[in-house]
């Protein structure tokens, strides 16, 4: 495991795992954006960072020069671990994604809404008498993991194990390849058991749906494809939305005006959710440069990775006036929190529903809350950004 030297020159030597980036990346992005639309670091075996909305968009749209086969920037380049469709390029991408899309339309995820509402209230019941709690550990963390477990048809009580794998794959695995490979292997063994069981006892969940899917020639998907897509659904559906819910509640805890307004004007909720997604977009993706090209006048060379920061694009003031302010009634907000181009997040409608329900139920039960001045907010490192520790205080339930 390698420890990274502290950054002294962000423009030529950025590092998204530096503790200052983890704590508050926004000022760093502003400095980088002022320097160039694309910056480069020798760390991570060479990596670019587009800093403007336009540069992020150009790269996201350009599947000829930029491959998705590796979607996390790490210290090393481990063997490609296919998780279709997120790691697929054209032409394989489209059919793999079309298998999943119908399962995640707004109408499809709406069926899960009562379940998510029940999960939220059950969690709130667990701490509402205590006058305070760590929102990340007791609330936001559990909502998406239980929802996706329900959809996949795997036990919700295995949630802690899923959260451990995700931490190993997306955080610890950036700097330690052996932890990454171990977690991937454990997941494969876990899912193999569930796949085997369904061969004898078919179910109506997402695992069976993938097993029963047929390609354009009428053939079932290879087990490796089913495993890869399951890996994607489990990894991508959990700490991303956990982060988004946590960041939204972090903002509301320290901004009483927005909290009161959302309670008084609930019709603002959809606009507010989009603004939380813009301002606190949790997910940074990656691409691998396959062919030499140029973005924003900067030469881009093969062999390097690209840190594709949709969160930084969302803070570009040329696209979003007052980009660093959270404006819960922002009218024009074509944000890129779920990506741009063919890799738009397949679970975006699910994430929105979970966020909306989580904030609505919270505000119904705990309308008045604030950050605990004696506690410390801690943020996750690397690819997905959100609070992992968020201590707050509120009046006990009457």
């Amino acid at each position: 495991m390698s420890n990274h030297a502290p950054v002294t020159d962000w423009v030529h030597d950025f590092d998204h795992t530096d503790p200052r980036w983890t704590e508050n990346p926004y000022a760093i992005w502003e400095e980088l954006r002022a320097a160039s639309p694309v910056v480069h670091t020798e760390r991570f075996l060479g990596c670019y960072l587009p800093t403007t909305f336009e540069a992020v968009k150009q790269i996201a749209y350009d599947t000829e020069h930029f491959s998705s086969r590796r979607v996390v920037v790490r210290d090393v380049r481990p063997d490609v671990i296919p998780s279709p469709p997120i790691t697929s390029d054209p032409p394989e991408h489209k059919p793999a994604k079309q298998l999943l899309l119908p399962l995640f339309t707004p109408d499809a995820v709406k069926k899960l809404e009562p379940k998510v509402r029940a999960i939220c209230n059950e969690l709130i019941d667990g701490f509402i008498e205590e006058g305070g709690c760590d929102v990340a550990a007791r609330y936001s963390k559990h909502i998406p993991v239980r929802a996706i477990a329900h959809m996949l048809g795997i036990p919700e009580m295995d949630s802690d194990r899923f959260i451990k794998w995700i931490h190993e794959i997306l955080e610890l695995g950036i700097k330690d390849q052996s932890i990454l490979m171990m977690a991937v292997q454990e997941m494969s063994i876990y899912f193999a058991g569930h796949i085997e069981h369904r061969k004898k006892h078919p179910t109506s969940d997402l695992i069976s749906t993938l097993m029963n899917a047929r390609d354009k020639d009428g053939q079932p998907l290879p087990d490796a494809h089913v495993q890869g897509s399951l890996r994607l659904l489990l990894i991508a559906g959990i700490d991303t939305t956990w982060s988004a819910i946590g960041s939204a509640l972090w903002h509301l805890a320290k901004t009483p005006g927005d909290r009161e307004r959302l309670i008084a004007e609930p019709e603002l909720m959809p606009t507010a959710i989009e603004e939380f997604l813009r301002a606190f977009a949790p997910v940074t993706m990656a691409r691998e440069v396959m062919k030499e090209t140029e973005i924003g006048g900067c030469p881009i060379k093969p062999g390097n990775m690209v840190l594709l920061s949709f969160p930084a694009a969302n803070r570009d003031p040329t696209v979003f006036p007052d980009a660093d302010k959270v404006v819960i009634d922002r009218k024009q907000n074509p944000h890129a929190a779920f990506g741009l181009g063919i890799h738009r997040c397949v679970g975006s409608n699910l994430a929105r529903m979970e966020m909306t329900v989580a904030i609505e139920e919270w505000l119904k039960r705990i309308p008045d809350f604030r950050l605990d001045p004696a506690g410390k907010v801690a943020w996750s490192e690397g690819t997905v950004r959100g609070p992992r520790q968020l201590p707050i205080l509120f009046e006990k339930a009457r």
Binding site: L101, P102, P106, R344
Partner: protein, 69 residues
């Protein structure tokens, strides 16, 4: 700004963010993959003019065309 409006979703650009459907459900519908299409021939009733522009300006892929006829 006095003429009638017509909307059109460019199917090559739409990636199914579904922002238009959420902002203007009267004007947009989603297919089985969640990609958006204009309802009917895309004519915008006068009362929905603001919603048409709102949907257009919130599409992350710039896939919605608003045509003034």
């Amino acid at each position: 700004m006095s003429g009638k409006l017509r909307i059109r979703v460019d199917q090559d650009k739409c990636q199914g963010h579904a922002r238009c459907k959420s902002l203007a459900p009267e004007l947009f519908e989603l297919d089985t993959y969640g990609n958006a299409h204009e309802v009917g021939d895309g004519s915008v009733p006068e009362a929905l003019t603001d919603k048409a522009w709102l949907a257009q300006s919130n599409c992350p892929e710039i896939a919605i065309e608003v045509i003034e006829e």
